[in-house]
């Protein structure tokens, strides 16, 4: 698999007299995967996002995006063009006075010709299904719609990676679904690489790979099923296991052995069925 981002031994703090927010973090992001970075509030996961597109620079170690090192001043803009971030607050990242203006913002920054911009805009609003709202003002949009506009603004630049930095945490369930569905579709149809930073393990359960952060360090990494085996560890750092796993854990404490971990209720009920047949 092609490695798009390499983080090597990165440490970071905001001020010299403050403790480190990230400590010796190393990880890789591969092309076309959905990587979830989980941790509770204050675990350093959002800071990591800022390092991944050069909004912050490592104190130690290196961040490489498709070969560009964020330490080189020249590379920064190449990195930002390749890595887009959807931030948490839908309002505070909407720059334009209308949907069209906002989607155009990144394109304008890159100095693109107007004709091409118009093409890119209609193409990307279509992908996030906001094509009917081009002239709408931001205060008339729902949170989920604003986040979809933010996604459109990013994919219009044709990046290789989109980071969702707790992008759904301020949305209602409907908005959350909207945004995640939009991103899944982009991943499947366009082969977009997605890094989703979240404290929602339900959402993370859908990822291809999981990185667990706590107190500025990467404490675990692997397939969701593998990571979820360490339920105690996840609960200790303040994360909630998905419901089917919680049930399974409680049952295994009562002496029932499952052949495998299940991430969905359907699978769980099937497992219970086989278990019942066995006894």
């Amino acid at each position: 698999m092609e490695e798009l981002i390499t983080v090597q031994g990165v440490s970071f703090r905001y001020h010299e007299d403050q403790p480190h927010v990230l400590r010796d973090v190393s990880l890789s992001v591969y092309k076309g995967e959905w990587l979830a970075i989980v941790g509770h509030n204050g675990s350093g996961k959002s800071t990591l996002a800022k390092l991944l597109n050069g909004l912050q620079l490592p104190e130690q170690g290196d961040v490489l995006v498709e070969g560009y090192n964020s330490r080189d001043e020249e590379s920064i803009w190449e990195i930002r063009r390749r890595v887009g971030i959807v931030f948490q607050n839908p309002d505070n990242q909407f720059v334009g006075t209308s949907v069209r203006d906002d989607v155009a913002f990144g394109l304008e920054n890159s100095g693109m010709a107007r004709e091409l911009m118009l093409e890119r805009i209609s193409e990307s609003v279509l992908k996030v299904r906001m094509e009917d709202y081009l002239d709408q003002e931001p205060h008339r949009l729902s949170g989920g719609q604003k986040q979809r506009v933010a996604i459109a603004g990013i994919i219009a630049l044709r990046p290789s990676i989109v980071i969702l930095d707790e992008a759904t945490s301020m949305l209602d369930p409907a908005g959350r679904k909207e945004v995640l569905q939009t991103m899944r579709k982009l991943k499947e149809e366009e082969g977009m690489t997605v890094i989703s930073i979240t404290h929602d393990l339900e959402e993370a359960a859908q990822a291809d790979r999981l990185v667990v952060m706590n107190a500025g360090e990467v404490i675990d990494e692997g397939l969701p099923v593998e990571v979820f085996k360490k339920g105690d560890m996840l609960e200790q750092i303040g994360l909630d296991l998905p419901f089917p796993l919680q049930v399974q854990r409680a049952l295994s404490e009562k002496g029932y052995d499952f052949s495998r971990l299940t991430l969905s209720q359907e699978e769980l009920v099937n497992e219970l069925w086989t278990l019942q047949l066995k006894v």
Binding site: N41, D172, L239, Q265, N270, L272, W273, Q276
Partner: protein, 290 residues
């Protein structure tokens, strides 16, 4: 204090071209001491409804009776401030209302406005800061040096310090991580039980609704779509699906078990423990049969 709402209607920008009806013909009664949950999509009128309960919004039609306070369309209630003393609201993202230099002063803001003597108010602040999970040394610190989650706790203490008998919670855990969410909801439930509060919770979380409520109100398009106890509401997943609302995981689980094992299981299963017990009962029955 009992709450009785009769024929409540609210229109925003009444009498202008932008007039928009947000609530229509709401009839509702919430007996004192109830844990009432209100569920509905964004824009269903939940927030508009709860803001009527302490006079932040005035009805355009109908009336609201809270204890011996009466808010009526077209009639000016002169005792709004007295009413607000009894009805506390924790708004969404309450940390946005913090403004004082110290946490103590911020917690005192409400009580002092309502004429609580300073000594008494300070005692309350000292007790509340611990109740919300911070220690007393925080009182002299600035609220703006805290983390988001801690700011939320301080803001909540500021509302509780008014000692309301009706506590309204508008999505009080939005944006918190799972542990923070659980701690805050447990705090509210404990207060509800210990102080005999009437609690009105607006939430998107079906899990919380199922766990804590005596009564659930589901709103849609400015009206009441469904109402009843958790058992009644969640025993009908089809009705919820029609409103594009989710069913709590525990309830889904029970329904799936019933379907797969063709067995009848108790329906008031709203906690993990109860769900596990249900699964156990099935597995153990299997053992008995064999």
């Amino acid at each position: 204090m009992d709450i009785t709402i009769k024929g409540l209607e609210h229109s925003y920008s009444k009498g202008t071209p932008f007039e928009r009806k947000a609530l229509s013909n709401i009839n509702l009664s919430i007996p004192s001491g109830t844990f009432q949950t209100i569920i509905g999509h964004t824009g269903s009128g939940k927030s508009t409804l709860i803001q009527h309960l302490n006079g932040l919004l005035k009805p355009t039609q109908g009336s609201i009776q809270i204890g011996d306070f009466k808010i009526q369309a077209g009639v000016k209630e002169k005792r709004l401030k007295a009413l607000r003393k009894h009805v506390g609201i924790v708004f969404q993202y309450p940390e946005h209302q913090l403004f004082e230099e110290t946490i103590e002063k911020d917690i005192l803001f409400g009580p002092l406005n309502f004429g609580v003597p300073e000594e008494e108010a300070k005692k309350r602040a000292a007790r509340l800061i611990q109740q919300v999970g911070l220690d007393e040394s925080y009182l002299s610190r600035s609220p703006f040096d805290l983390s988001g989650g801690q700011m939320r706790r301080v803001a909540i203490a500021g509302v509780l310090a008014m000692k309301p008998s009706i506590l309204i919670l508008d999505e009080p855990t939005a944006g918190l991580d799972p542990r923070g969410r659980r701690e805050i909801m447990d705090l509210f439930y404990r207060l509800h039980e210990e102080e005999g509060l009437t609690t009105i919770l607006v939430t998107h979380s079906m899990e919380d609704a199922a766990r804590f409520s005596d009564d659930i109100l589901i709103m849609e398009k400015g009206g009441i779509a469904l109402q009843g106890g958790p058992e009644t509401i969640f025993s009908n997943p089809e009705a919820l699906k029609k409103l594009s609302l989710d069913v709590p995981e525990t309830v889904q689980f029970i329904h799936r078990l019933e379907e797969r094992f063709t067995k009848n299981l108790p329906h008031s299963v709203f906690t993990l423990e109860a769900a596990v017990d249900a699964a156990l009962s099935i597995l153990q029955k299997g053992e008995e049969n064999s």
